[in-house]
Symmetry: C2
């Protein structure tokens, strides 16, 4: 029982300590650790026992140095506080663990391409094997395109056209479906509270909304632009409340819809009696709004998972061949009680 051969004694045990204790060479220990088939069962047992006895843990830096692999992926996220990014991150992490990868995160405060660049650089410096970017702004998209191909990158939740592989929700079809739902209810047209113009998702939802209106031959009122927050929905809602032609509003996300609901409630306007309201995202709280919100469900967790898998594909199969894949996940409208046929308001 010398400090050399037992745990607790001196410094942290290394592979040769295990080898000595098990009476084999360091290479055999390495083989056991890496599940090499060419190790006799009895030897393997002996090595495993020694490992346990010493509480030996392989040094990941040494391994990374020689294999040139870290089994770590990086995630660049815009605001991990929002429900969407938080859920995607969660999905990514779960999937990564399943594939025995680590996840290292960097969040960026602002949406300019410099920040995204820096974040990716930082991750690159830490030797991640690939990067997932949750940064659905048009500007970030540009940054990614410029990034250079020495590090596999996948955009999640949205992303630049082409250039970079992406896993995204089909915002357009979701927006289209919920707008059509409102139209089918008998509304002459549907107003829209849009997300920030520099978000790809916001743009796609506007496009889907416009397309549904065009399909129905309805005129498209000028959309009002918010910033995803309940506050902006509230402020915009105050304006909408004074317009007696409004009978249905599609909000680009549930939080803005919540603010709108609040504004309408303060103005004494009934939902859905006077005005129907629909959102987008289906956050867990949406069914407990007053009234429960009709919205479009997107499975953020699934998005994250798919994104990670796409990234792993690229990491393991080497550089791109052909044009980058683009996975679209279909969102699903969820009808609750915030939408109904137009009622007491005078038609627009």
């Amino acid at each position: 029982m010398t400090a050399q051969t037992t745990a607790g004694g001196g410094r942290k045990p290394v592979m040769s300590d295990v080898a000595r204790l098990a009476g084999v060479s360091h290479q055999t220990v390495s083989r056991v650790l890496n599940d090499s088939p060419h190790v006799k069962e009895a030897t393997r047992e002996r090595v495993l026992t020694a490992i346990r006895e010493l509480d030996y843990r392989p040094n990941s830096a040494a391994r990374a140095l020689v294999t040139n692999r870290t089994r770590t992926v990086g995630v660049v996220s815009f605001d991990t506080t929002l429900y969407g990014p938080a859920s995607m991150l969660h999905g990514i992490e779960q999937a990564a663990r399943g594939h025995d990868y680590f996840v290292s995160i960097v969040s960026v405060r602002t949406l300019d391409s410099r920040s995204v660049q820096d974040a990716v650089d930082r991750l690159h410096g830490q030797a991640v094997e690939g990067v997932l970017v949750i940064a659905p702004q048009t500007s970030a998209a540009g940054a990614l395109a410029a990034l250079g191909a020495d590090l596999p990158i996948v955009a999640v939740g949205s992303g630049p056209r082409a250039k970079v592989p992406a896993v995204a929700v089909d915002n357009e079809s979701g927006a289209r479906a919920v707008t059509r739902h409102l139209l089918d209810l008998g509304h002459r047209t549907v107003h829209h509270l849009a997300g920030p113009a520099n978000w790809l998702d916001a743009k796609a939802r506007v496009a889907g909304w416009r397309a549904a209106l065009a399909d129905a031959g309805a005129s498209a009122p000028e959309p009002l632009t918010g910033d995803w927050s309940a506050r902006s929905g509230y402020e915009l809602g105050l304006r909408l409340a004074t317009d007696r032609s409004v009978t249905a509003v599609f909000c680009a996300n549930d939080h803005m819809a919540l603010g709108l609901l609040r504004a309408l409630s303060e103005a004494g306007i009934a939902v859905p009696g006077d005005i129907s309201v629909a959102g987008f995202d289906d956050i867990p709280e949406a069914s407990f709004f007053t009234p429960p919100l009709t919205t479009v469900r997107q499975d953020f967790g699934e998005l994250g998972r798919r994104g990670l898998e796409l990234l792993l594909d690229r990491i393991e199969s080497g550089p791109t061949d052909g044009r980058p894949p683009r996975v679209l996940v279909a969102p699903e409208p969820v009808v609750r009680s915030s939408t109904a046929a137009p009622g007491r308001r005078p038609a627009g």
Copy 2:
């Protein structure tokens, strides 16, 4: 311009490539990289130019191997989808970046001590220098206590009594303050929708609520226990709605308060006219509930930041001396319009 000395050619440049190009030794390059004071300005410039020209990036694994430092901290989180954990994670990441540390995350699905153990082990295997745990369940607390001192650990947002250093919100004083607010308004007593019994925060909030009632000589009705979700608040709210003695309810978080609000609304009970409702957390949406919610603000981001700093202290100053520190952050009641003097309901 051979492949040896320029980027783009063959393999990734290493330190000696830079040294050769700059006409110095590898050690001088290392000195420049590590801001050693004893390098002549002209030499430094020459090295930096060479680094830029080759697009050289130091190999972090090699550095970690020899310095035995990774500048990485791990975060173990229970459910990164919830607002609280997501915000703390954000705060941690921001702070870590400020101190030039990386953040690696592992989230656990279930709250048993095995999962927490495994997560910490995983992180340990990746050679993080310390771990922050966002897992405010009593069971996790036990796991941490058992963890052994070879890796610095800090609990964030809550944590076991003693044993492990922690940064937490003073749940008890927050709950006490908001309960007193309700009592001061003239309510005879205050009902409570509690969080899950195995969450430390939930327990502390119950304690604060009880203390405030006791201070006022009010009787404490049996608290109802939910699971933090709006759904559970709704279901419990349905029960509360049938009890005509209820005039004020303090919910253990804002989401449950939202569900309660929904249930009361369906039951035709006015808030705050018939029943006053208060929450805890002050999520960004709370001021847009119907009606805007009186609640207790806790600054999750700050919590994360403080947690990281505490961890860094322990990493840099070596093993514990004395008993683990415990930082309490004071939460702040925010009065909005969901609370008022008792009104039309018959007194209990």
